[in-house]
Symmetry: C2
């Protein structure tokens, strides 16, 4: 896992894991039990996914008695947005270059 992009894409690539993250985004802080009940997989599976999401910086955990509450850390999505914008930017730059070229050829 080289850079932050790698970590983010790989972590969000799994549907089950992404669904958990989406739910945390939509509905805010949730306990492991609550997340498990709607995940379609076992509790250990959910815990494993939450561990990976935490490693990627996409979620925080907060311990309260015997429960653990997880919440989304939206800041972690920034590199993803940057990457997307960067790629789109390259595309537009080439497009502009093409326009310039055509303009110059037109003269």
């Amino acid at each position: 896992m080289q850079d932050a992009h790698d970590m983010l894409f790989r972590t969000l690539a799994d549907p089950t894991r992404r669904a958990i993250f989406e739910r945390l985004c939509r509905q805010g802080e949730q306990t492991v039990g609550a997340l498990t009940s709607q995940s379609g997989v076992s509790q250990p599976a959910v815990s494993k996914h939450l561990g990976l999401l935490k490693q990627a910086g996409l979620v925080r955990d907060r311990h309260e008695g015997r429960q653990t509450h997880y919440s989304a850390q939206l800041g972690a999505l920034a590199p993803l947005m940057d990457w997307t914008r960067e790629m789109a930017g390259f595309w537009e730059a080439r497009f502009d270059d093409l326009e310039d070229l055509l303009k110059r050829m037109d003269q």
Copy 2:
């Protein structure tokens, strides 16, 4: 592979494949040979990756003689940007709700 998000995240999750896509974004149209020479993997591996990128709608191919030229299709990134914005949106919505709540409690 359920929705478009799944396809996109899964396709971009592999570092080698993402590197190929990035190169197409940065430098525009490239032949398979050119992409292979800087990929660090074999030509068949590159072809396989290009096939998956094409399936995901991230690249186009153009045949010219015995060469195949591939180019990035930036439009395919739109669902990714939408998803990211949506997640960030949920976060902000909850933040606004919290602000509202605090404001109301303050009165």
